[in-house]
Symmetry: C2
Subunit: 309 residues, 2 copies
């Protein structure tokens, strides 16, 4: 099977203190698919304008993405431009031109409707509802959102929670959604409204999974150079869902590894502009980073005193 992913397919212009890139591949569905297809097949639903360089998505098709759900609208593609601050800690949005995305009405192709695993990228919660109305019997629905929808379409978002198994959200958004500054309590508030699992993304500090009776932390990968932070969260989601699709399991032992694949993909995303790092990323590079994450976090709870006599 494949993961069904619905989200934006965009063009991004990004300036960092070191370099800049113009009209490169971007959007939540593109970052998600670029990461996830390294682990499992993906079905992409989105919309592009007549200016979109669709051939540049060929690398996704070549490794198992079904792009037949990307509709071509009349007009411009979603365009986003931003400039990162000197310390990469923040950014100024220079442009958000929705183009054809403004009237996006996701149409799930017949062949995609039996998807077991669904990722709802960060779009209007009303559209996320529409997507779920078209999917027959998903086993796992994961969902992202942002402050814009928490503020602007809160009721729709809260009612969506009841249809979602895994909410992926950043720490500030979790606090804002639950109106609660403590993350443990904020995640409980969210879980009380539907999702069994809340994954809180904390940027360079990694991510935390909150479930009913367990919690799992994964750090961010310590990079000397964060080249371009754009898309890290969607790439995290791609790694997480890609491994979930691989194992087909919600067992804690497997979800823990999904978290690590999420952080691995997030760390690769920021090493270059756009999805460039994913284009030729090898399985051995992914597994090397997995080993690195294990080394960064593993410890023996008890000292082996007998060896030290």
């Amino acid at each position: 099977m494949s993961i069904l992913c619905v989200g934006s397919v965009a063009l991004d212009s990004v300036e960092t203190p070191f370099d800049s890139a113009e009209r490169v591949l971007g959007g939540s569905a593109v970052f998600f698919a670029s990461a996830a297809t390294l682990l499992a097949p993906v079905r992409v639903v989105g919309i592009v304008g007549d200016d979109y360089p669709i051939d540049r998505l060929n690398f996704l098709a070549e490794r198992g993405a079904d792009l037949s759900g990307i509709e071509k609208g009349e007009g411009k593609s979603f365009f986003w431009a931003a400039r990162y601050h000197a310390d990469m800690g923040g950014r100024d949005t220079l442009a958000t031109e929705l183009g054809v995305f403004a009237d996006f009405q996701p149409k799930i192709p017949e062949a995609f409707r039996k998807s077991r695993h669904v990722f709802l990228g960060n779009i209007d919660p009303a559209l996320q509802h529409d997507v779920l109305d078209q999917v027959e019997a998903p086993e796992v629905v994961a969902c992202d959102t942002m402050n814009y929808w928490i503020e602007g379409n809160r009721d729709s978002l809260v009612s969506l929670l009841d249809r979602v198994n895994i909410l992926m959200i950043n720490d500030e958004e979790a606090r804002q959604l639950a109106n609660e500054s403590n993350l443990v309590r904020a995640s409980k508030w969210i879980r009380d409204r539907g999702p069994d699992i809340v994954v809180v993304k904390k940027g360079e500090h990694g991510a935390v999974l909150f479930a009913d009776d367990w919690v799992f932390f994964v750090p961010g990968f310590p990079l000397e150079e964060v080249f371009d932070p754009t898309g890290a969260g969607d790439s995290f989601a791609g790694g997480f869902m890609g491994h979930l699709e691989q194992t087909g399991s919600l067992d804690p032992v497997d979800l823990r590894r999904s978290m690590v694949y999420g952080s691995i993909m997030g760390s690769f995303a920021v090493e270059r502009f756009s999805v460039e790092r994913f284009v030729d990323l090898t399985p051995s590079a992914i597994e090397a980073r997995m080993a690195h994450f294990h080394d960064m976090t593993a410890f023996q709870a008890h000292a082996q005193v007998e060896e030290r006599v």
Copy 2:
């Protein structure tokens, strides 16, 4: 042997959104010793005024702290007062009255001078130099500092680094000291000036140990209620150094566990005012939290596919 700890012995008045405490035990040496003595003996050097309720430190003496290095000066004890913000994310300092601490000249008692493990709490780097001048041949010197000294006595602090094995510092201070926003590069800058190991404390996000060719992360413990954040960093140092004293080892396998004991003690510190949580903390509560930390971070790098056929 014992850990030699030099730092402030203070009285704190703390207001949180939930409660307040007046003139309770505080200071870096007190938090450090309260945590460390749960794991190993500690020798405390500091100064108090003639108003200090020294009997309230009896619980430390009872579990192996040697308090004979606490000098009694003429005048008032170091007094600090603060009010935490509604979300506990920040605080306003209401009073800092140095009292006898203003003229503190650490005198290391003869019996303490052969200490193997030394913790230099957050005091003037010039005094931290003075302490090291009085210690004969320490094996491991760990040191804390703060933005006040980075700004006000930078040269002395930088020259101290060459005499320190482990610098413990928070993330903002590490960035400030190295004048470098990237933590990996900031820690490298610091290690290039002396310390083999830099431990960066990140509050609720946990802590990171940077060594020459390895890195180790420990998360913060996810508490539903952070009662009073005061002293978490010094308690972290106490847990870290306490376990280092127990094992006498700088092997990565042991330093990793020291990091976890650090985070454990930091998490207990914030559960009550002052050092109250440490007074009757049991070994079994510590070991239960150790197991909890293991459960929050352990994962299997590879899926056990054969079990799933």
